[in-house]
């Protein structure tokens, strides 16, 4: 079905093109909401729809004023700064602990493997509102609710499943005889890890890190409960803006976030190709 054979009947031809039309429509549904934000963010008016001037491509109908507002408004800048301060630390925590655990889980003689795996993946499955509520009460009791470290710990916990999944997936293709060869040649376990294993599973670790980063960077429910005004992150600020009164600045922020996700996606794609090459699979 990849290509239409020359002997196809009219019905088959119709279906062939009909199917493709349906797919294009669905892809349009998938991508349109994201792309439509971009031109709207350059709107010179405070409207959320295309003005006549925009449709006529008049340059006066476009402006950067929403971006200007984002970069000069203290609330947004503070939120951006908080996000930048929280996400990398949470990511580091999740990646360090997660990679170690993934290596442990991939050992051939790991006891209680499936039970432990189920526990470690659970932050991804449990509804966020439940996690957020639990953390809110428990962290208040410990006195870390409303603190920077409270939010970092919570976000690290949420990012861990992604690190576990990506790193264990990379380790499945990992040739364990390499480790034995290194040991045979006299390398200590630590040296073996950093010189042999780490470079090979690095693509998985990095993509796990990207997932953990985006989880924290994009997270709003938990930070709403565990954080206080001092930890107001970018998603939090957006959430408030969307719930109370939509300010067009959100469009500018959204466009910037879309740009970031395109960058992340590109990085990930490059990593995937490199990983497949390293593991001797056919390049994509």
């Amino acid at each position: 079905m990849a290509a239409l054979p020359p002997y196809a009947s009219p019905g088959q031809r119709l279906w062939y093109w009909g199917f493709r039309a349906i797919c294009v429509a669905i892809l349009f549904f998938l991508i349109m909401p994201i792309l439509v934000i971009v031109p709207l963010s350059f709107n010179a008016e405070d409207f959320f729809t295309f003005t006549r001037g925009m449709l006529a491509l008049e340059s006066s109908a476009y402006s950067l004023k929403h971006y200007e507002d984002f970069f000069t408004n203290d609330d947004w800048q503070q939120a951006l700064w908080n996000s930048v301060r929280i996400a990398p630390v949470a990511t580091m925590l999740a990646v360090t602990l997660g990679t170690l655990a993934a290596i442990g889980l991939s050992q051939p003689h790991m006891p209680f493997r499936s039970a432990i795996m189920a526990i470690l993946i659970s932050p991804m499955i449990v509804p966020l509102i439940i996690s957020a509520a639990g953390m809110y009460f428990f962290y208040s009791r410990l006195g870390i609710q409303g603190t920077y470290w409270g939010v970092v710990l919570a976000h690290a916990a949420l990012g861990i499943p992604f690190v576990i999944i990506t790193v264990t997936a990379t380790l499945v293709g990992f040739d364990r005889s390499l480790v034995r060869a290194a040991a045979n040649l006299g390398a200590s376990p630590v040296r073996t890890f950093f010189k042999i294993q780490m470079p090979l599973i690095l693509p998985g670790v990095i993509s796990g890190a990207l997932f953990a980063f985006i989880t924290s960077f994009d997270e709003v429910v938990v930070v709403l409960f565990v954080g206080s005004a001092g930890q107001k992150t970018l998603p939090w600020q957006m959430f408030i803006g969307l719930r109370e009164q939509i300010s067009p600045t959100i469009l500018a922020v959204a466009t910037l976030l879309v740009t970031i996700s395109i960058l992340l996606l590109t990085t990930l794609e490059l990593l995937r190709r490199r990983s497949e090459k390293l593991r001797g699979m056919s390049p994509g």
Binding site: F19, P33, I34, P108, M110, I119, L128, A133, D218
Partner: protein, 583 residues
Amino acid sequence: MTDAIAPGGLAASGPTSTPTRSQAQPKAQTKPGPVLAADGRPLKRSLQRALRAQRLRALALVAPLLIFVLMSFLFPIGDMLFRSVENQIVPDTLPNTVQQLQDWDANGSDAPPEPVFDALYYDLFLATEAKQHTRLGTRLNYERPGLSSLFRSTGRDIDEVGEQYQDALVALDPRWEEASVWFEMMSGGSGAEPDQALLSEARTRLYRLTSDDMSGEIGFIPSQEIAQILPLTSREYSAFAVFTVIEDDDVVAEEEPWEAVFFALAQDLQNPDLSAGIQSYEGPYAELLRNALSQVSSLPVIDLRAAFAEIDSDWANPANWETIKLYSGNYTDGYMLNAVDMTKSADGPVLKDENQRIYLKLFWRTLLMSLAITFLCFLLGYPIAYLLAILPLRTSNLVMILVLLPFWTSLLVRTASWKILLQQQGVINDLLVWSGLISDAGRLVMINNATGTIIAMTHILLPFMILPLYSVMKTIPPSYMRAAKSLGATDWTAFWRVYFPQTIPGVGAGAILVFILAIGYYITPELVGGTSGIFISNRIAYHISSSLNWGLAAALASMLLVVVLVLYWVYDKIVGIDNVKLG
């Protein structure tokens, strides 16, 4: 993978066991019996030791993360779920009342007898001093509206009840007003036997009431003798003393006792069983006590039932008492029952009135909408996954990017864009009006209702359906379809009878994943759902941050969690949790 260990594979699995095996073999050939390792131990045990070491090493690698997840994630959730059955606040705030209420028949038509009101007076007086009565009122108000204001108004006026006795006693002898007189009388003067038990009882009572640390020197101990002749007075005075020092930071000997202490004294004096003891008492201010006893008939007799009914007539209503009795245990199923629109009654749980049932409806709506979203995701995701599977690699990679970009885009960005697109002055309505499909007055309402939630969430969760479907379809050899067709099947039959059944595992995996994620969603329904498009999660959030009914929030959360965990378990059985693909 863990259990099946082939003997040959074992030796190859780690550097530690390799030498053991190779050196053990020659020995095994020379003499029969247990196979020995190089160090003379039986090989079996030696191998087991090596295996154990490996297991421990693997566990040690996992342990830090496991502890981290337990501490930062699982304990908090368990702790919260526990709130759904916790009810200590009632027995902690009204310990004596709860005890007295046990003998009261809730089915009767009368309010409880006098002793219950006595206990209530002392409990509520202390609770009011500690400002805990409103908390209890809020708690009980969840079960019976009106109780919050009942406790609030009673807390305002409860001082006045004891004041009558205070005035009468002071009229008998002005020394009753002096803090030092009370202090000396209650501590029994120098050389009196101290009653440590009574004091620690008072500390426990206040600790349960306030959850503050009540240990520490307070500079007062009641005497055993006075505790015997004036049991109520010394009990209340001890509570007063502990509270004065620890909560108010004052000195006991310098503070005039509470009205409740005067009330207790009057009750002790009016108790004929105690008069003999008071007559023969010889401690400090014995003559003051005897004098009061001799004039006991001049003290007013207060009917507490009437007094409470005067403060608020609701105290005479047995239905309010029934609620207090029903929720007097340390643990309760009341929140859980509430979460399924039921309420406790003297004859067991019953459904609430029709117009008060909201949660079952909300659960049902959450379920239906999640199913609708799952089905829509399947409908839209299946063709795309199929397209990805049949296109040549280079083209399919491009299509894949179109699928992954939304996946990687911030959830709030996607929700925001739907909010903008779907609003009445938004792009879609503008387009429809411009094209003449609808009139300007007839703009569609697609936001702040169930439609908005379903559209936005289908878009957000679609990649979670496409990715597992695609990973299954990729593995189906195209030759099966060709074989079916060459055997005479039409395109449709070949698809429906041969291809589709093979994609069922992918459909199952994707559907469960989407359903699990959908049923617990909070952000999108909150922003685009209005009132008719919200989920159970939004109600949980409301009870945590607005109504502060944490017990009910925890009960709703427990039920949601049970559903999710069952699905998670099913998912693990069907797909295997480590087979989740991300991107």
